[in-house]
Subunit: 439 residues, 2 copies
């Protein structure tokens, strides 16, 4: 790979998510060369992906070109390539566009959808971990509405209008809320000749409450909000199989649905070349308290892909943006300390709390000192997400879209945009063309 040689130490960061971006930013003005490699040319603000999938925002509001983030950072180089594996002996990263040597390599590859080995579920269901997947889900859901007007078969129509979300975590809850608002406020006006009441939104959650990682209050409030919005919630229910039409589950209830959204788990998105011993629970890479990969001196892992057991988090930190950001910051501080001949500091996670939004005026928040639900939580949620977006332009366009939707009970971008000219009818053909659900 073509990167100018430099006498300075070269740090290669793999992945432009929250962790990788933060680390590279924190290393500006340092005497090192920072190379960031990503197969995409943009950073994705994942917490708002569900709004792209539910026709509330366009991708440009939540995606930001990586080159633009680093425009004024002189020691930064971006390369748009997919990483195949690393070679710790020769200190090289092997990509589909050639090799690149490193002095330090930081794996910040995040997480990927975990189907827990269920091949058919992975094949026929949708996930929502990237912008292409979110766009694909948006098109699919709108297509199912259009198709339900074209069929005479009532069972088929029900299956087209049933939306099953597996997983009652923040992603599942937020998407269910957004779909319920589409059903109430948007679709009846768009489809006057369709009985939109027949549309059913289901959440299937394996544990005994929604938002199991949050407080009891948050679980209770989100349950109340969602049932009030007409969402069917099935707690203690696990999906065992899905053939693209019937959702098999352990509750005994038969669910027919052409759309199954899998939000039930993620696993580390590791790369090859590491000692197999470092692979830990959830496919994450075992590190010490300095994000150094076990058994390697100059290989690091941060964010979702890193498993750093600690006293407070014996099973590793939660796979959320805040951990990635804080680890990126801390690792940059440690590199600086090393170059100044100082000692490294162990990582300590400062939990800033968690939030989930369900709909207009409805959110839940567990902050370190306060727990609250309803309008104020919704307002705080919007404010925090808005200021977290990169770039003033993205903030303005997102704020405008939110304000517009709020005032008009509308969602702006109900566009079915498909790459190929022909709409695919055969599920296998579809899986081959689009990223969604491909195992």
């Amino acid at each position: 790979m073509n990167v100018s040689d430099s006498s300075l130490p070269r740090l290669v960061i793999i992945g432009g998510g929250f962790g990788g971006i933060q680390l590279a930013r924190s290393l500006r003005n340092q005497a090192c060369q920072v190379v960031l490699i990503d197969k995409r040319n943009y950073h994705t603000f994942q917490p708002l992906l569900y709004q792209v999938a539910s026709a509330g925002l366009e991708p440009d509001s939540i995606a930001y070109p990586i080159r633009k983030v680093f425009r004024n950072q002189k020691n930064f180089v971006f390369r748009n390539a997919g990483v195949q594996h690393i070679d710790p002996v020769q200190q090289k990263v092997v990509t589909d566009a050639g090799e690149l040597s490193y002095d330090h390599v930081i794996i910040a590859t995040g997480s990927t959808t975990n189907f827990f080995g269920m091949e058919k579920v992975s094949r026929y269901s949708r996930s929502m971990k990237s912008i292409p997947e979110a766009l694909d889900l948006r098109s699919l859901m709108l297509e199912h509405f259009e198709d339900s007007l074209l069929t005479h078969d009532l069972h088929e129509r029900d299956a087209l209008m049933n939306f099953v979300i597996v997983g009652g975590g923040p992603t599942g809850v937020e998407l269910a809320g957004a779909l319920a608002e589409l059903k109430t406020h948007v679709l009846p006006k768009d489809y006057p000749d369709l009985d939109v009441r027949r549309m059913n939104i289901h959440i299937l959650e394996g544990s005994d409450r929604l938002l199991p990682t949050m407080s009891k209050e948050a679980s209770t409030a989100s349950y109340k909000f969602l049932t009030g919005m007409g969402v069917n919630i099935w707690l203690g229910t696990r999906v065992s199989d899905y053939d693209g039409h019937t959702v098999s589950n352990d509750s005994g209830k038969v669910l027919l649905a052409k759309t199954l959204i899998w939000a039930a788990g993620v696993k580390g998105n590791t790369i090859g070349g590491l000692d197999p011993m470092v692979k830990s629970r959830g496919n994450r890479i075992l590190t010490d308290a300095y994000n150094r990969v076990k058994g390697h001196s100059n290989v690091f892992a941060i964010g979702d892909v890193a498993m750093m057991p600690s006293e407070a988090y014996p099973d590793g930190h939660p796979m959320v943006a805040q951990v990635a950001i804080q680890q990126g910051k801390q690792l940059a501080k440690n590199f600086k300390a090393e170059w100044q001949g100082k000692a490294w500091t162990a990582f300590g996670y400062r939990d800033k709390g968690s939030m989930a939004t369900i709909g207009r005026n409805k959110a839940v928040a567990d902050l370190p000192r306060f727990r609250f639900q309803g309008f104020f939580a919704w307002f705080v949620w919007m404010f925090i997400h808005l200021i977290s977006l990169i770039g003033f332009r993205n903030k303005v366009i997102t704020l405008f879209n939110w304000a517009w939707s709020y005032i008009h009970y509308d969602k702006g971008v109900r566009l079915i945009i498909r790459p190929s000219k022909k709409r695919k009818k055969d599920p296998d053909e579809m899986a081959a063309v689009s990223p969604s659900g491909t195992p």
Copy 2:
């Protein structure tokens, strides 16, 4: 196809472009059932497609869901399906979702890219007639920049950084201007480690001037503007072949380019089932002065696809939005006249003039009474395009994006969004998956 029966006459409109939308709108409050069929669920504002391709706007600014246009129109039905052919004897439209009977059918299928039978050009070049095509072109151009940083081969790099536009009409001129601005204002900041001066933009035009359908003043001014912005213009030059790498042309100059954008012609996008005698020049459907297809009593064609020879336009009207809109309006008036027992009125085109924008403060305008170029033309161009966009939200977001770009010399949406996870390297595989054909 599933459309409720009605005792009122059923008008089926095929295509939701400028003509189809206008006709359906003009028939509101009439005692008829209006069914619009389109394979896409949105109307595309084609004059701004080049801004989507050149990273200035996202699709949602120039696309508008068809259902939303007609939300309050009670006699309107939309069906999202592809039309295969019509059956004038049985008075049926045959779609990929079943058949639909009609009392009157209106073909408003617009135009499609004309490669004049050059199979290899059609295979390896890009066109820009739809939103998926424009998005694909955007991703391809950005990928070529990224790839030019990954190669050591200088010839390959030049080919990646050469952009050849075939056709010096409004589309070609506007796209060339937008690319020249990307080159000057955006790319040097995004790619500090690339010699952006090596990027070359070429326009190849077969006739002896740019904008051949506009005034001499417009041609001269656009030539001056574009050369001043560094665009290479080759007049009197025709492309004979393209293999994905070498652009064969009759000037003797060898042009290497991985990106060839074909904006050299369109042809009518006809559908099957009509008497072959009605097919006329440019694959357009021959109609009388009332847009009635020759030899049919209740089949009509409007807009680009219609060939209506008249005294003022013996070879048919220009294939522009204004003709489609005015024909849609006129045909609606004629239907109303018929239902009131009045006589039909022949169509007369009122040419409102034409405009093209080249870059900041640079446009050319031929209005019926005035011709002007430069800042004022640019301002008028922006104003007219802004008010022509459907929906207040689209107007606001487009205005904001334009103002932002103008102040910051920036383009917001430099995102490479590809449907598949893996970037395809094999040309045939790529052509099969995405409309882009990297050779």
